[in-house]
Amino acid sequence: MALLLILIPLASIILLNIGFKNAMTKLAIWLSLAVSAWQVAMIIFKVGFDSLNLVNVFNLEIDGLSSVLLLSIGIVAFCSILVGNGTICCPKKKFNFYNLILLSIIGMNGIVMVRDLFSMYVFLEITAVSAFILIAYQEDKFSMEGSFKYLVLSAVATVMMLSSIAILLMYAGNTSFVMVRDAVQGMNSPLVLTAIALFVVGLLIKGGLVPFHGWLPDAYTSAPASVSAFIAGIVTKTTGIYTMIRIVSEVFGFSETIKMILMIVGLISIFVGALAALGQNDFKRMLAYSSISQVGYIILSLGTGTALGVAGAVFHLFNHSIFKTQLFINSAAVEKQTGTRDMDSMSGLSNVMPVTGWTSVVAFLSTAGIPPLSGFWSKLIIVIALWKAGYYWFAGLAIIGSLITLAYFLYMQRRVFFGKINVNFKDIKEAGASIIIPAIILAAITLGVGIFFPYFINTIIVPVSSVF
């Protein structure tokens, strides 16, 4: 079963490219939708979870943490494919888009299932390569620039991680998580510490945390709408944040230094991201900074090192991938209908685009942590975890960060959706079905997870925290 999650998207890519160009161009969207929907269904219904682990090539495993990620990968990919169908112009580009999405699904599924540093690195590269091409998709100056920045910083991160893996291999004799953990933990040699530091910094670059966030706003903003939703929603979360959670909690362990570094980086990211978001006029750029800020919460929560903190981090990761994808989809709808991303030139779009307006309200309230939406519960768990671990100031500051989040989103709402309709946009219509449907699906998930929280606490949080 675990291997199927890699083989089926791979088989789909091969199938799409063996020939029959015309037929395959039509088939591509259905096939890629089917693959992502199948992945979601597999995780929800837990089909063959324990059995079918026949070929142990990469030593694949699916535990609670992996399944949360697999679920979000499936959902976000499904929605991005639909949005791509609604926003990308010519059939040939669409075809390439679906192929690249499938490729990065392979990469991400691999990342979350492997139990080995080197395999993880390989899958990271697969994901990164498809992400570079996806960002540069429009082939204009800005997207090239965004893609290039991501490429360069990503390469730096890769080099750091690879050299770190080399050092660890030297000590452990193997790169599997278990072996490395046994060799590394409790060891104070400077070389090992360097290796750990290199790896952690590499992941911080990948995740776009302050002060390594330089590439992120450009990459998110210059990418086409559907790609931004995909990259911001899940790609950076899997390559940078999930990996951090997995590696720190299972391999390096929570030493005091790592905890402090993570918490401080997290807190700085929360504030830098939120304050920068407050000053943006470009809709997508604001969302990008907001993303940095929310990722800060995840890392801050991870930094507590307690089971509850890790559970809060994972839960917020899931929620964030849902509501941030949704906000990028909303921005895609707005951009498509008005032809601009400048928030100052819009006003009162809720009047003409009610679905986009209301789903964005759901998403932003969830981001700001207003109950009863999903984001509230994950933030609450994060704050409780910080409080229980004795970091009272961090808990208080995290709560203040929520207020700034609310402030910049209210500012966004006031300029874009809420208010009197701008006369220039009096006659625009709601964006097409393939943008509206994913927005509604994601808003429903946000609302549903929030309202049926007691159920989710048992199915998501408890399994994740029992891992540690």
Partner: protein, 477 residues
């Protein structure tokens, strides 16, 4: 029907029903309006049905959730009393909206938010744990935001954002306080918390939340600004529901559950006194009709806080009665203001005058309710005010009591000023239109009649209040 079911119906019929209203509204406007009213009436009726049980001194718990080991809802006589007051006033305001809102855009959103708001209020009232209080608390803030910005003007939306940010700031502070309590008591359940000691730091943080919601100094600035909302909404926010949420949570946490340290019995009355005086002063000089009434609310909330915080049974009974009487009459004042505003197209009282000739029903209702707020016997407001100040004297805090007496005098002055400038003298309005639609007049008149009846038949609400006070004093002592 079982009592547990009644509580669940009270909360979830309006909360879940509100989501249906926009859909119903797409089919038929009249059906939607009636549904909105019915949802609120369900809350009212169910709460009335709970009354006999709680009057016997029993309490009811509902919706036990295994996963977190907590009861979600709980009813005692305080909760039922509060629920009846707010759903009664809420129902009349919804009725009034039928006339008021009928010619504006976004009617679906309006009814959606109003009913959601009232439903969340019920949720707070019957909450058994801190998390559930917090959840419903924030839902009301959200509904408020949409409603204050209802007319979509740029400055209005700005003020809506301000209200949202101030109340959320308060709520987040309150959340820190809740976490602090959780740290010491190990649970969010009010039943567990009442057995453990709560630090003054937690009380301080929670007070931020309460003061921001009930618009007491220094977090009151959003409330006068919120007057830009449609009049029934301001009535809802200022009179019936929103500001009372703060008061109710104060009563629920610090009067019923957690015995406060002695110093708070002095600090909170002082905050209340400053708040009452400053806002009364602001009400004296302002010229915007709705802002004056709003400042008056801030001022009257001070009286309620005085009653609840001074710490003896007379004042407590007065504070609770005050919630009822103030809700009824202040709602009527705002609704009258709405009628006047629609007829004259202005809110500036210096441009009005002599309106008693063209709108007698409004004028008389306004006067009766203003009398009740001033505390003129035999109207309901008199008994409440008398008991509060009497209780304050009894507790020995003479200075505070005199300050509040002075506040009461100011109330009389600014409300008379308001009445005279609007209704007496020569008309400065060119072509004053007629009074509002019949439903609007009926709602206003009903509230006025209730204010009178509340005074004459004071023994009925007083009975409920005395039971509540006995229960509370029994628990705390």
């Amino acid at each position: 029907m079982k009592n547990e079911t009644l509580i669940l119906l009270t909360v979830f019929v309006p909360v879940l029903g509100s989501f249906l209203l926009p859909l119903i509204g797409k089919i038929s406007e009249t059906t939607r309006n009636l549904c909105a009213l019915i949802f609120v009436l369900v809350s009212l009726i169910c709460s009335f049905l709970l009354l006999p049980t709680v009057m016997r001194g029993e309490t009811i718990s509902a919706l036990y959730v295994q996963a977190v080991n907590m009861n979600y809802f709980y009813a005692d006589s305080l909760a039922v009393f509060m629920a009846i007051v707010s759903s009664l006033v809420g129902a009349i305001i919804v009725l009034y909206s039928f006339g008021y809102i009928s010619h504006y855009e976004h009617r679906n959103e309006y009814y959606f938010m109003v009913v959601l708001f009232l439903g969340s209020m019920m949720g707070i009232v019957y909450s058994r744990n801190l998390i559930s209080i917090y959840v419903f608390w924030e839902i009301t803030a959200l509904a408020c935001w949409r409603l204050i910005g209802f007319f979509r003007e740029r400055t209005y939306v700005l003020r809506a954002d301000k209200a949202f940010l101030v109340t959320v700031f308060g709520a987040l502070m309150m959340l820190i306080g809740f976490l602090n309590i959780y740290g010491t008591a190990g649970s969010f359940d009010l039943g567990v918390i009442s057995k453990s000691h709560v630090s003054n730091l937690a009380v301080l943080f929670i007070m931020f939340g309460i003061l921001s919601k009930s618009a007491t100094l220094p977090l009151h600035t959003w409330l006068p600004d919120a007057g830009v909302a449609p009049s029934p909404v301001t009535a809802l926010l200022h009179a019936a529901v929103l500001v009372k949420i703060g008061v109710y949570v104060f009563a629920r946490l610090f009067v019923v559950t957690i015995p406060l340290d002695e110093m708070w019995h002095t600090i909170i009355p002082i905050i209340a006194a400053v708040s009452a005086l400053v806002s009364a002063g602001a009400a004296l000089i302002d010229t915007d009709m709705k802002r004056i009434i709003a400042y008056s609310t801030v001022s009257q909330i001070g009286f309620i806080f005085l009653g609840l915080s001074i710490g003896n049974d007379v004042a407590l009974a007065g504070g609770l009665l005050y919630i009822l009487m103030h809700g009824l009459s202040k709602a009527a004042l705002f609704l009258c203001a709405g009628i006047i505003e629609q007829a004259t197209h202005t809110k500036d009282i210096t441009k009005m005058g002599g309106l008693i000739k063209t709108m007698p029903v409004t004028a008389i209702s306004f006067l009766i309710c203003a009398f009740s707020v001033m505390g003129i016997p035999p109207l309901g407001g008199f008994f409440a005010k008398y008991l509060v100040i009497n209780g304050a004297f009894k507790s020995g805090q003479t200075t505070i009591s005199f300050v509040f007496l002075f506040g009461a005098v100011l109330t009389i002055i600014y409300l008379f000023r308001l009445f005279i400038l609007i209704f007496m003298g020569h008309s400065k309005v060119e072509h004053p239109e007629k009074e509002g639609t019949p439903v609007m007049l009926i709602s206003v008149a009903t509230l006025a009649v209730l204010s009178i009846l509340g005074g004459i038949f004071i023994n009925y609400p007083a009975e409920v209040v005395m039971t509540t006070v006995q229960q509370i004093m029994g628990v705390v002592r």
